[in-house]
């Protein structure tokens, strides 16, 4: 079966790919935080953030089609917000809806802009991060940034076994469909319920077997990892440069200095 991997294109080579994982994690998370905390009316600042991201994207040599496809993930969310926000009462952000009059308020439009632009920057950052860093590198990066081990381990297992689970689900679906299953309402819900229960049991048993395999190799509840590569001065320099730029964009953009 063909899976779509979270970290496809992470094995390319580019200046962004070569950055140390921790440096990239800090860079992109900081960028998102700065962006999210920028007031919605500071339009030039957002243009600045997007420009920085586009330059990084260009440097990373990722195929634009891939980035675009991944970015489509946000569209449903934005549409959901878009469907409601314009009906917000003037001056009451997150307040009551005015469904009768169908007035589109200005503050509603501002909220919509706010959501669209900030989610775009966030999604673009995360696509850049995950498409330029192999998944194990990301996990190790988070680990070395002192994210508790339990989280990185859970993420590692989830990522590792989601593929196995999807394969199992596909095989079950094929077995079901080859016996002429047609999804016709209520009585078929039972079949689907059985399938889910079956998948749950399989995962549970798998968990037990994996644990045995860990014990067999001397696991005692503590996890041990090798020291990773050091952050180089070049990495630090790059992160500091980009972040300085982003902070400048924010300060100047909020004051309307670009206009």
């Amino acid at each position: 079966m063909r899976h779509s991997y979270l970290d496809s294109f992470s094995n390319l080579d580019s200046p962004i790919h070569r950055l140390e994982a921790r440096a990239k994690i800090i860079l992109f998370f900081a960028l998102v935080v700065v962006c999210v905390t920028t007031p919605a009316k500071a339009y030039p600042a957002f243009a600045g953030y997007l420009l920085v991201l586009l330059v990084l994207l260009f440097l990373s040599r990722l195929p634009l089609k891939h980035v675009f496809k991944r970015a489509l993930v946000v569209v449903p969310f934005v549409l959901m917000v878009a469907a409601f926000i314009p009906f917000l009462k003037t001056g009451v952000i997150g307040g009551g809806y005015n469904l009768g009059g169908m007035t589109i308020s200005q503050s509603g439009l501002l909220v919509l802009w706010n959501v669209v632009v900030k989610s775009s920057v966030g999604v673009l950052s995360m696509i850049l991060l995950s498409s330029t860093t192999p998944f194990d590198g990301l996990l190790k990066g988070f680990e070395r940034l002192k994210v508790p081990h339990i989280f990185t381990t859970i993420a590692a297992f989830m990522y590792r076994y989601s593929f196995v689970l999807v394969d199992e689900a596909m095989r079950m679906k094929q077995a079901r469909d080859s016996r002429n299953f047609k999804g016709r309402w209520i009585w078929d819900a039972k079949v689907i319920g059985h399938m889910i229960g079956n998948l749950f049991m399989r995962s549970y048993e798998r968990g037990e077997r994996v644990y045995l395999a860990m014990l067999a190799r001397g696991y005692d509840g503590r996890s041990r990892t090798l020291e990773g590569e050091r952050i180089s001065t070049a990495d630090v320099f790059f992160v500091i440069t980009v972040m300085t730029l982003v902070v400048l964009v924010r300060i100047l953009g909020s004051r309307g200095m670009f206009l």
Partner: protein
């Protein structure tokens, strides 16, 4: 230090919590350097027996590994000396990369970085997987997964290698590759299998289980020559007979070494 057998099991019994009697009065000893096949139909108790060899299950009776009884004090040393490769490589390869998986055992042994790296390199080399360090397990073919799973155990430099159904699901080329890998390893081997064809090239002694008991323990040639016992316990004679030594007597059922004189050793049909 005086002579110790690699594996020495005396009167081992195990009952699963649900009441299944999986092992009944198992006696088995394997010398250092031997290559033994453990065969028998599904549900015979082979996997259950394997889990006793490194203390993952503890039944009644005694299991000694190189003279060490299995207890909480020895269990770390025993898990290092007995490497168990489980049936499904997806259970054995649980880390983000092949390197992490192969390094898992050595890291748990508390080895320093250089030594861990040396052992990972050596283990992957031994199974013909050098260069796959950075790959994720789900990017590997099934045959590669099987070999990587063996490497995860080899990196602990075990003295005994135990494999549960190593040929399962592999295509002939994968089997041949795995066979070559196993033949090249200088360790004591216990191989659980249904497939006598590949066993012929690897093991000279066959232990047969059924219903939680050992029902035969004999040189391979004798077992192969006895079609009756193979059929009785749901095994097939390998398709080619070329490898059977011409000297093998076709009616040696009586020669099989009885293990439990009490129950007559080999059952008569």
């Amino acid at each position: 230090m005086h002579h110790h057998r690699a594996i020495e099991i005396t009167n081992l019994c195990y009952i699963y919590p649900d009441g299944t009697e999986a092992l009944r009065n198992i006696d088995l000893s394997i010398e250092n350097g031997e290559s033994v096949a453990l065969v028998g139909p599904n549900g015979a108790g082979k996997s259950t027996l394997i889990l006793h060899l490194n203390g993952l299950l503890r039944g009644e009776g005694e299991v000694r590994i190189f003279g060490l009884p299995i207890n909480d004090e020895n269990v770390r040393e025993i898990r290092r000396r007995v490497g168990v490769v489980f049936q499904d490589p997806d259970d054995q390869l649980f880390s983000p990369t092949v390197f992490d998986d192969v390094a898992f055992g050595p890291l748990n042994m508390g080895l320093p970085r250089e030594e861990v790296e040396r052992r990972v390199g050596k283990a992957l080399e031994a199974v013909g997987m050098a260069g796959f360090e950075k790959r994720a397990a789900f990017h590997l073919s099934f045959g590669q997964k099987k070999r990587a799973a063996i490497a995860t155990v080899l990196s602990m430099e075990p003295d005994v290698l135990v494999l549960d159904e190593p040929w399962g699901n592999l295509d002939p080329r994968g089997r041949r590759g795995l066979l070559n890998v196993l033949q090249s390893l200088p360790v004591t081997r216990l191989i659980v299998t249904h497939d006598l064809f590949y066993t012929m090239e690897l093991c000279d002694r066959v232990v047969m289980m059924d219903g939680g008991r050992i029902i035969a323990d004999a040189p391979l040639a004798q077992i192969l020559a006895d079609e009756g016992i193979l059929e009785e316990h749901g095994l097939e004679l390998p398709q080619t007979e070329l490898k059977i030594p011409p000297t093998a007597d076709r009616k040696v059922r009586g020669n099989l070494r009885p293990l439990h004189p009490a129950n007559g050793g080999v059952k008569e049909a």
